[in-house]
Amino acid sequence: MTTEETILTKISEPVFNHANGRLLMPEERYWPSRKWKSPWSLPAYRSGAALLAGILSGAVLAAWLIGEIPLRLAPLYSLAEQYALSYGVPLFLFHLAWTVIKAALLLAVPLVNALFAVWWERKVSAHIQSRLGPMYVGRFQGCLQTVADGLKLFLKEDIVPDCADKLVHLLAPVVVVIPAILVFAPVPFGRELIYADLDIGTVYVFAVGGVSVMGIIMAGWASGNKFSLLGGLRSAAQLVSYELPRTFAVIPIIMLAGTLNISAIAGLQAGYWGGILPRWFIFYPVVGQVAFIVFLIASVAETNRVPFDIPEAESELVAGFNTEYSGMKFALFFLSEFAYVLLSCLLMAAFFFGGGEPPLPFLGFLPSWAWFLAKTLTLMFCFLWFRWTFPRFRVDRLMDFNWKFLLPVSLLNIAAAGLLIWLIS
């Protein structure tokens, strides 16, 4: 066996051989009129449902077994600390190393998220469109599809157009991606599962997240392409405008919670009204729901996704600001887009859905990070769902929608929140 063959057997890829095809006779063509009549009678449908249920229950079991991560790590941490001290390692060095490890883990969050979210988006979109999505790469449901995409993009030729501003063209994806990683620092992933528990976390997130706009404008400008330029200009207008309602939508939460610390806001929502309805901010009458809807819409706009994807509007501007980007630079744009989607979902889970608090009292056996993850994924599914349902706004209607609808509503909502606080007190 040659080396190549050894490798081949290890990581197998689908090699289609044409003898293995199952023949589908004309009379058994897949017509939706026949397939949809009683889907439960189809074996593939039943096995798919069983698979989903299996994955879900396995995940629940795993989460239950793992439990709260900080609690598990605490003895490990103290053990390592003692070990380091016994060898005479200075304490600050140990803390430095611990911080570096945590930072590396944090850096992995957007990367892993992009790998997963892109695959998930492709699967969800496929099933919304009654097709299957990636199926062959990595054997199980195309789970390595994104890995292959990333590897291929990494190995592609990197083209810098002649008429581009070379330095800015190079810097733009960097400027986009660095804030997208930094922004996760004060965001909790569960109870006490946080990199830096900043007291001004909310402000930090919005401030750092806003820097990415610069990168997109730089990309649009530096590409030397008219479609890119238009895309960059559009995104500048859009992202700056939608920052406002997005921030204003959070103000009622901050007023009710009395803090800017994100994990504190999440923690404040523990407990139940009447023992059944969780004390989440979304269940505060009117204020909570309006704030959530405004925040959701503004978040979709901030992350440049349909129906607000005018900066990269495929059918109008070819690919918008990343028209002239190839290979890894393009992948970085993609990465930051999905990082911001994850961020928005995490923030929404923390602000409106009680972070790591279980929705019903008896579900408390699952650790907080599992609930956080579940809520984040559900919200992320909403993002994908919107993406594959709606058409795109026109650029002036988009501005209208923001300035004439979302902003007034969010301002009114602040007033309503004041009223609510006065009523409660």
Binding site: P32, S125, Q129, K226, F227, P307, I310, R392, F393, R394
Partner: protein, 377 residues
């Protein structure tokens, strides 16, 4: 604002090449846009990127071979091209067509209209940024293509309608399949309405955009749903009934304002009407007096019409498709001119694109539903 400030604020104009390779030009149309920011100042459509010299090729083919070329004109509704060509040649040569073949022609033409409008629906939705309707439309379209494949062996280009009739009769089991499709398809139209037609974002992008007045539409020679969306109630199937359209009962949807949404919705309604016509044809074909017979009767293999001219037109998916045929008595046409509706529909772009946004360019272009194969020929 005074003139001075407006002059000072006046932005530089930018020239954008919209196409020929662009995701939403439906092929290889090029529009030279001059824009001021997002607003179009001047638009000049440039066609010919798919010019294949079809009219010259007709002169070098026999009448039966030329039928193959007509498929490639408006490749999304090939059946109408075949039909218009055959009507012109039949008129030129004075050929009679059996009644059953006439019904089959109407049936396939209407099914093809549904397929073609489904492509319009899908691509228009993609132009508007919604991808899912595109796949829903193609899901239903595949069923029609299955029917066509079963009937004549082609999925896209059929060559089904022949001079003097059609190439083959219905195969066994086809009628039931067709009925099954129509029964499945009608509720889907409601889904499409919910998904796209009533969607507020979609409406805000298309309603009141790209207005074409009735006078404009007539003068520019628009036809089909594009003309009817502006008001004139002109449908070749009603105005000059060919085949058996005078025996069938159907309505022609007409709108008033001529906006993108009207053009879009005219087509959506037409799909429902086409399904009705198809059902009526299926009923008529089941009648005993229309028993299967030889489908092309008494037409010689090498057709040689006497010298003369003839013009025949049909209501194709995109409008009034006409064939002007001149014979000099030889085996091949002396001259064959195609009056492609898309060719005239695309010409109006230079007038109505001025003053709209770049995003509207896509909407208007999509709503006109042009096929470049027919524009460029």
């Amino acid at each position: 604002m005074t003139d001075k400030t407006s002059a000072a604020l006046k932005a530089d104009q930018m020239f954008i090449n919209f196409g020929p390779q662009h995701p939403s030009t439906h092929g290889v149309l090029r529009i030279a846009l001059t824009v001021e920011g997002e607003v179009v100042v001047k638009a000049a459509p440039d066609v010919g990127y798919l010019h294949r010299g079809m009219e010259k090729l007709f002169e070098a083919r026999t009448y039966s071979q030329a039928l193959i070329l007509t498929d490639r004109l408006d490749y999304i509704s090939a059946m109408h091209n075949n039909l218009a060509y055959c009507l012109a040649v039949e008129r030129l040569a004075g050929v009679q067509v059996p009644l059953r073949a006439e019904y089959l022609r109407v049936l396939t033409a209407e099914l093809n209209r549904i397929a073609s409008h489904l492509v319009f629906f899908g691509t228009f939705a993609v132009d508007m940024g919604a991808f899912t309707p595109f796949l829903y439309a193609f899901r239903e379209r595949e069923m029609i293509l299955d029917l066509f494949e079963m009937l004549c062996g082609g999925r896209l280009l059929y060559s089904y309608v022949r001079v003097g009739g059609v190439s083959a009769d219905l195969p066994a089991g086809w009628t039931e399949k067709c009925r099954e499709f129509i029964a499945f398809f009608k509720p889907r139209l409601k889904d499409y309405d919910t998904l796209l037609s009533t969607n507020p974002i979609f409406k805000s992008r298309t309603d009141g955009v790209g207005l074409i007045s009735a006078a404009q539409a007539l003068s520019w020679g628009l036809s089909g749903p594009n003309l009817r969306a502006s008001g004139p109630d002109y449908d070749v199937r009603k105005a000059e009934p060919y085949c058996v359209y005078d025996k069938l009962n159907f309505k022609v949807p007409v709108a008033r304002t001529g906006s993108c949404w009207d053009r879009y919705y005219c087509r959506m309604l037409e799909m429902g009407q086409s399904a009705e016509i198809a059902l009526q044809c299926l009923d008529a074909l089941a009648a005993p007096e229309l028993a299967p017979e030889i489908m092309t009767k008494g037409v010689p293999k090498m057709l040689k019409p006497a010298a003369g001219q003839a013009y025949a037109h049909v209501e194709a998916s995109r409008g009034d498709l006409g064939f002007y045929a001149v014979s000099d008595g030889s085996l091949s046409p002396y001259r064959m001119h195609v009056r492609g509706p898309s060719f005239l529909n695309v010409a109006i772009l230079q007038e109505i694109l001025t003053g709209c946004k770049i995003a509207d360019v896509v909407a208007i272009l999509g709503s006109l539903d042009i096929v470049l194969g027919e524009v460029d020929r």
